[in-house]
C-alpha cells in the first residue's frame, strides 16, 4: 500500500507540533522517520492512525483520500501500529489481545477464542514468532509482547505498519531480531514506517530516511549518510556525538557495596548479592535492560528501599539502615530515573524545586522560615550556570521541556557538597543539546574527584560515560568490564550470558 501525507499540520493550542509535513511511503520499503524526542514524529503518526485529527492536510492511501474519525477507521483502511508503549491489556491472553476490537463471535456475542488462537498461531508460524496464544501478556518478555503487537496488526490485514520507537525497550539482541522481522515484512510487500532517534538502527535497516525537526521536515537522507551528518540534521547544528573525557585520576575506594540484597514489596528479590567498588574520580556505568535491578540499586543507595541487607559504605561510613535525609546529608547526590515523579514537583517553581532537598537548614531556611531572598539569588545564578531555558525562576517546572527539567534536577544535585553522585537515566527523554550538556557536567563531577554511578538502559550512553561498566541481569552482576568492551559482548552480557574468557576489572 502506498501512503502519501500532504501538508499535515497539527496544533496543540499555540504549539505547532506538525507544520505542513509531507511524506511518501511505498510498498516494500522501510521508511525511517528520524527526529529528536518532541520533534513531532509521534504526533504525525497519531494523526495517521486517527488518534489525533489534523488541522490541515490530507492522508492518501493508494490514491484515495482518507477521512479517519478514529483508530478503527485507520485499521480498517489497512494501517497497523506498533506503539512505543504497547497497547496491550496486561491481564488478557495473547489471543484475547489480538481479537480485541475485531472479535469473531458465536451465539449472543460469545467469543470464539479457538478461532483467535488459530489466527495467532498461523501468523506466528508464518513469521517464526513463537508466541503462545494462551499466554497472559504481562508474563511475557518485552520482546515477545512487541511481537504480539505486530501479530495484532497483521491479523487485521495491515498493509502499512508503523513502528513507533520500537527498540527503546529491547536488548541489543532483541533489537537485531526486530530488524530481521522488519526486513521479512518488507519482503512480504508491506510498507513500513520506522520511527526512531537511534542513528545506528536507521542506517542498518532503512531504505529511505526523512528527518524531522521542530515539527517540520528538514530533509531526506540516504542510509549511507554518516552518523554525524544525520545527527546534525536532526539537531540543526553540528553536534559532538562523543563525550570528551580524559583518563580518570583515581583516588581511594570511595563507595564500597558488598553483598547488597533488595527485596521489593511483593517479596521478589530485585538485587541479589551485588558487590562492587567505585573509586574517587571514577564513573561506574551500570548497563542492563530496564527492570533488572537498577532501579532498586539506586533506591537502596538513597535509602528509599525498605528491605535491604548487605553493606553500602561511603568513605567508610555505613549507609544501609540510615534514613534518606541522613544519606543526603552524607553527600549523596541523586538524579532519579523519572524526573516527573521523583525528581521534581511539577507544580512548584524552578526556585522551589532547586531547594527541595535542602528544606531543613541554611542557606535557605532559618528558624523554620524560608529565606526567599537567598533562594532567588541562588536560583537566578543556577538558571544561568546550567543554561535552563525558562522565562524566569518563577516558571513552573511543569511548563519546562524535558531537557530543561532535567537541567534543574542536575543543577540542584550538583550544587551541593557531594561525596557521591548517583545518576539514573540522566538523559532519558532529553534533547541532544541538553544531553551534551548533562554529560559534560557528569564528567566534570568525576574529574573533581567524586565517585559517580551512572545507570542507563542506552548502551551508547553507558559506553560514552563509563570508566568501567557493570552489567546487571536479574538482580545479579554479570560482570564488571572495561569501557572499551565490544558492544556485542555487552549485549550478550545483558541477556545474562557471561563470555568464558571474561575477566572482571578491578579499579
Amino acid at each position: 500500500m502506498r501512503l502519501v501525507l500532504r501538508g499535515i499540520t497539527k496544533r496543540f493550542g499555540s504549539v505547532v507540533a506538525n507544520d505542513s509535513i509531507s511524506l511518501r511511503v511505498e510498498p516494500g520499503e522501510i521508511h525511517c522517520l528520524l527526529g529528536e524526542n518532541g520533534a513531532g514524529k509521534s504526533t504525525l503518526m497519531n494523526v495517521l492512525y486517527g488518534l489525533y485529527k489534523a488541522d490541515e492536510g490530507e492522508i492518501e492511501l493508494d490514491g484515495e483520500v482518507q477521512h479517519f474519525t478514529g483508530p478503527g477507521d485507520a485499521m480498517a483502511a489497512g494501517i497497523g501500529m506498533v506503539h512505543q508503549h504497547f497497547m496491550l491489556i496486561p491481564v488478557f491472553t495473547v489471543a484475547e489481545n489480538v481479537m480485541l476490537g475485531n472479535e469473531t463471535t458465536g451465539f449472543a456475542g460469545t467469543l470464539d477464542l479457538a478461532e483467535a488462537s488459530k489466527r495467532v498461531t498461523e501468523i506466528s508460524e508464518r513469521f517464526g514468532f513463537h508466541v503462545d496464544p494462551d499466554a497472559v501478556v504481562e508474563d511475557l518478555p518485552v520482546g515477545v509482547q512487541q511481537r504480539v503487537e505486530i501479530i495484532k496488526a497483521l491479523s487485521r490485514d495491515a498493509e502499512l505498519l508503523v513502528f513507533d520507537e520500537p527498540t527503546a525497550v529491547l536488548t541489543p539482541q532483541e533489537t537485531d531480531e526486530l530488524m530481521d522481522i522488519m526486513r521479512q515484512l518488507k519482503e512480504a510487500g508491506k510498507a513500513i514506517v520506522f520511527i526512531t532517534h537511534k542513528l545506528r538502527e536507521v542506517r542498518e535497516v532503512a531504505d529511505r530516511i526523512t528527518v524531522i525537526r521542530l515539527g517540520k521536515v528538514v530533509g531526506e537522507a540516504e542510509p549511507t549518510a554518516s552518523n554525524v551528518e544525520l545527527a546534525s540534521m536532526m539537531v540543526g547544528r553540528p553536534v559532538e556525538l562523543v563525550v570528551h573525557k580524559d583518563a580518570p585520576t583515581l583516588g581511594d575506594d570511595a563507595l564500597v557495596v558488598r553483598d547488597l540484597q533488595v527485596v521489593d514489596a511483593a517479596g521478589h528479590k530485585q538485587c541479589d548479592g551485588l558487590s562492587f567498588t567505585i573509586r574517587a574520580g571514577e564513573i561506574l556505568a551500570v548497563a542492563g535492560v530496564q527492570g533488572n535491578g537498577q532501579t532498586e540499586l539506586t533506591e537502596a543507595l538513597l535509602g528509599l528501599q525498605d528491605d535491604v541487607s548487605g553493606s553500602i559504605r561511603l568513605d567508610g561510613v555505613e549507609l544501609v539502615g540510615r534514613s534518606t535525609r541522613k544519606i543526603l546529608d552524607a553527600g549523596v547526590g541523586f538524579i532519579p530515573e523519572d524526573r516527573q515523579v521523583d525528581g521534581l514537583v511539577p507544580g512548584f517553581t524552578i526556585a522551589e524545586n532547586l531547594m527541595l532537598n535542602r528544606s531543613f537548614r541554611s542557606p535557605f531556611v532559618r528558624n523554620g522560615s524560608l529565606r526567599l531572598g537567598a533562594l532567588r539569588e541562588f536560583a537566578q545564578q543556577k538558571l544561568k550556570e546550567y543554561d535552563v531555558r525558562a522565562r524566569d525562576i518563577d516558571s513552573l517546572a511543569a511548563n519546562l521541556s524535558g531537557g530543561n527539567q532535567q537541567k534543574v534536577v542536575v543543577a540542584r544535585e550538583l550544587s551541593r557538597d557531594l561525596r557521591l553522585l548517583v545518576a539514573a537515566q540522566p538523559t532519558r527523554g532529553v534533547d541532544v543539546g541538553s544531553i551534551e550538556f548533562i554529560h559534560k557536567q557528569i564528567v566534570a563531577t568525576r574529574d573533581s574527584g567524586i565517585p559517580v554511578l551512572v545507570v542507563s538502559t542506552e548502551l551508547d550512553e553507558v559506553v560514552a560515560l563509563a570508566d568501567r561498566i557493570m552489567v546487571l541481569y536479574r538482580g545479579k552482576v554479570v560482570g564488571i568490564v572495561p569501557a572499551d568492551t565490544p558492544r556485542e559482548t555487552l549485549g550478550l552480557m545483558m541477556t545474562g550470558e557471561r563470555p568464558k574468557d571474561l575477566k572482571d576489572v578491578v579499579a
Binding site: 485499521m75 472479535e103 467469543l111 539482541q173
Partner: protein, 434 residues
C-alpha cells in the same frame, strides 16, 4: 528472505526478573494464621467466661418440608470446645504452611469459618434451638440488595468507573419502586421503575465522572447525599400526605419453585424466596458469563484495564463506559426494590441504611469478580441475619454488639482476609481523548 530463529526463551527476554521469586514473605502470608489464631482464642475466651450448659438444637427442616430431616441435638459446652479444638488444628495447619512457605488454599478459611460458626452458635444458643433454614434463608433474602449493589459495583469498576453511588442507586430505587408499585398496583412495575431510578443516578455519575472528569469518589459520595436529601424531602412533602395512594405498594411474596423447593435444606433456603431472588440468580449468572465469555465483556474489561489500548483498536471508550454504568445503575437500582417491596411494603426515609457501602465492600472482598462478590454479599447478609436471629432467641451477646456485627465482619473481611487483590488498572481514572 531472512528468518528469525531465536526462540523466546526466558533468558532472551528483557522482562523484570519475575522468576527470581523468593516465597512470599509479605504481610499477606502471615495474615491468615494470625486472623485464625485470634478468632480461635476469641471463641475459647467466650467459652471460658460464660460456660454454656444444656443442649443446642439445630433444626434442619421446616414443617412444610417434603422430606423431614431430624433435628440435631448436641451438648452445648462439649460441642463448642470440640469446635475450638478443630479451629486450633486448622490454625496450626495454616501456621505450618506459612513456615514452610506453602500456598494457603481456600479450604482452610472456609472450613474454619463454618466450624467456628458452629462452635459459636452452640454457645450462643445453649439450651435453645437454631433454625438453620431460617438463618440461612433469611441471609439470602437480606443479601438481595447487597448482591444487586455489588454486581452494579463490579460492572462499573470493571469498566473503569468507581461506583460509590450504589447507596444512592439503592435508595432512589427503593423510592421509585414504592411509588410506582403503589400507583400501578404492580410490584413488577415497581422493580422496573427501581432499575430506571438506579440508571438515572448512574447517568448523573457518568455525566460528571466520564464527560467532565470530576473525581469519581467525590461525585459518588455527593450523589448519595443528594439522593438522601431528595428522597427525605419527597417522602415528607409528597408520600406522607398521600400514603394511601402513593406509598402502599403490594408486597412481593415468596413463590416456592416446584421440585427445587422440595429439596431438603437447599430448597427452603434458596427456592422458597420472592421472585426478586430468582431474578437475582439470573442476573448473577448472566453477568458472570457475559463478563468473561462475550465480546461485550471483553471490551468492557479492556476499557477498565487499559482504555488507550482499547481506543487504538477502535473501541469507543467513553461510550462503553456510559453503557456499562447505566446497566450497572439499573442492576443496583433493582436491589433497591427489596427495601420497599420485599422487606416492608412502602418507602421510609434512609431505609437502605448503608447497604450500598457494604455492597461496595463486597466488590473489593470479591476481587471485582461477579461470583466472588456475590458470595461476599451473601456472607454480609449472613452476618446481618445472624444478629437478628441471635437477639430473637435472647443470646447472651449484648444486642448493641450484635448490631455492630455486620460492619465488623465487613471490616475484617476487607482488611484481613481479602488477600492480594488487584483492581482493574484504570479503575477510577477518567479517559481523555486528544
Amino acid at each position: 528472505m531472512s528468518t528469525v530463529t531465536t526462540q523466546p526463551t526466558p533468558e532472551s527476554g528483557g522482562l523484570a526478573p519475575d522468576t527470581v521469586v523468593t516465597p512470599t514473605r509479605g504481610a499477606g502470608a502471615r495474615k491468615l494464621p494470625v486472623v485464625l489464631g485470634v478468632l480461635t482464642l476469641l471463641l475459647a475466651g467466650i467459652l471460658l467466661r460464660s460456660k454454656p450448659s444444656g443442649d443446642t438444637t439445630f433444626q434442619l427442616s421446616v414443617a412444610t418440608d417434603f422430606v423431614t430431616l431430624p433435628d440435631i441435638v448436641v451438648p452445648s459446652g462439649p460441642t463448642a470446645w470440640l469446635m475450638v479444638v478443630i479451629c486450633l488444628g486448622l490454625t496450626a495447619e495454616a501456621v505450618r504452611r506459612m513456615l514452610t512457605r506453602l500456598h494457603q488454599p481456600m479450604w482452610i478459611p472456609i472450613t474454619f469459618a463454618i466450624v467456628w460458626m458452629i462452635g459459636f452458635l452452640s454457645w450462643a444458643a445453649a439450651g435453645d434451638r437454631i433454625r438453620v433454614v431460617s438463618l440461612l434463608g433469611g441471609a439470602v433474602a437480606l443479601a438481595i440488595p447487597l448482591v444487586f449493589g455489588a454486581l452494579g459495583g463490579v460492572l462499573g469498576e470493571r469498566a473503569g468507573v468507581v461506583n460509590i453511588a450504589i447507596e444512592g442507586q439503592l435508595l432512589l430505587g427503593a423510592f421509585a419502586a414504592a411509588i410506582t408499585a403503589s400507583t400501578t398496583g404492580s410490584p413488577w412495575a415497581g422493580v422496573a421503575a427501581a432499575a430506571v431510578a438506579g440508571a438515572l443516578v448512574a447517568l448523573i455519575l457518568g455525566l460528571f465522572a466520564i464527560t467532565y472528569f470530576v473525581d469519581q469518589v467525590i461525585v459518588g459520595v455527593v450523589l448519595n447525599v443528594l439522593v438522601v436529601g431528595l428522597t427525605n424531602f419527597l417522602f415528607r412533602q409528597v408520600l406522607t400526605p398521600n400514603a394511601e395512594s402513593l406509598n402502599s405498594p403490594e408486597r412481593l411474596r415468596a413463590v416456592p419453585i416446584p421440585v427445587l423447593g422440595d429439596i431438603p435444606l437447599i430448597g427452603p433456603i434458596f427456592f422458597r424466596q420472592t421472585p426478586l431472588v430468582y431474578l437475582l440468580y439470573v442476573v448473577v449468572a448472566v453477568v458472570a458469563f457475559a463478563l468473561y465469555r462475550t465480546r461485550w465483556g471483553l471490551r468492557l474489561r479492556a476499557v477498565g484495564e487499559h482504555p488507550k489500548a482499547a481506543d487504538t483498536v477502535g473501541i469507543k471508550v467513553n461510550r462503553t463506559r456510559y453503557r456499562t454504568i447505566l446497566l450497572a445503575g439499573a442492576i443496583a437500582g433493582m436491589g433497591g426494590a427489596y427495601f420497599s417491596l420485599v422487606s416492608v411494603a412502602g418507602f421510609n426515609r434512609e431505609m437502605t441504611g448503608g447497604a450500598g457501602y457494604i455492597a461496595l465492600a463486597a466488590v473489593i472482598f470479591g476481587k471485582w469478580d461477579p461470583i466472588r462478590a456475590t458470595l461476599a454479599a451473601l456472607l454480609f447478609g449472613f452476618a446481618t441475619n445472624l444478629q437478628g436471629v441471635l437477639s430473637a432467641i435472647g443470646s447472651p451477646v449484648p444486642s448493641q454488639f450484635m448490631l455492630m456485627l455486620p460492619y465488623l465482619v465487613t471490616i475484617f473481611a476487607v482488611a484481613g482476609l481479602v488477600g492480594r487483590s488487584r483492581p482493574p488498572a484504570a479503575d477510577g481514572v477518567p479517559y481523555r481523548q486528544q
